[in-house]
Symmetry: C2
Subunit: 183 residues, 2 copies
Amino acid sequence: MRLPVELAHAYRLLNHGPTTLISAAHGGVQNVMAAAWVMPLDFEPPKVLAVIDKQSFTRSLIDASGEFALSLPSRELAAATVNAGSSSGRDGDKFASSGLQPFKAQEIAAPLIDGCLAWLECRVIAEPANQQRYDLFIAEVVAAWADSSVFADGHWLMAPDTRHTIHYVAGGRFFETGAAFDV
Amino acid sequence: MRLPVELAHAYRLLNHGPTTLISAAHGGVQNVMAAAWVMPLDFEPPKVLAVIDKQSFTRSLIDASGEFALSLPSRELAAATVNAGSSSGRDGDKFASSGLQPFKAQEIAAPLIDGCLAWLECRVIAEPANQQRYDLFIAEVVAAWADSSVFADGHWLMAPDTRHTIHYVAGGRFFETGAAFDV
């Protein structure tokens, strides 16, 4: 079941460095891309950093709308994630070609991606120099959600029998998030 | 054995979001801190992003020297990593208190941390507005290294019988990097 995550805990969804899907919408058009270069920037209000190539179609939708969503796929969506990272929405509807299914967010127009483990709804904080020079976006998290089978009461569960987040390296290779341990 | 990593492959050391140790030196003083908010920003020349709190002693050494090193600990160093993240070098020599052992880098004065899996030597690209407003550093990777038992020929090995990188969440809880899979 998809449940809200307290904004003060939103950083915990990204703190361990999972691969994300970035989605955006503008003027009735929506798109999704894969992004490994996403991480927290601040706790409260929660902010995130995302590197979003100015060549990408999703980037043009973010530039126009000032919003994007992050969705965290599990291994079940890894092939679709690679597909979303290696094709362009300029060449056709990427939701149709990747098999990823959008659904409506609460606070922003950008869609969330069905079947993921967690979701962050983000509003861009305008920093034109970073965006132009480094393709670097700073955004405030305005809503966050997680599947209660993997994240509950502010903590990732990710047990051997639940789905896990995934971590992309290169060349189609991922690592699954492994076993938890405490210090 | 510690071997050089081609700069074009340096991003792969961080792409999966491992927790890092950030070390710095200036004027004969050196320090180390834990940092989960570190990721790649660009491929070649490789650049990284790191969020480094202006309250931290390590930050003052980075501000003064314009350099820092990233070292990637495994589970064997997780307790020392938490220690390095919860004490301050202002209160005494953190290398003595954490058990972490520094050794000399090649291109920068900041030390690398012994027993880690990989290392990146970084020179800060001056972006004063980001540094002041967001505690956000952009740096170029000028040398990179990895232990050949876990990273070789540009690829992480991380097999069941080798050491793995680790991913911090909160409250002393980490995830180990789990099983690899290909799409």
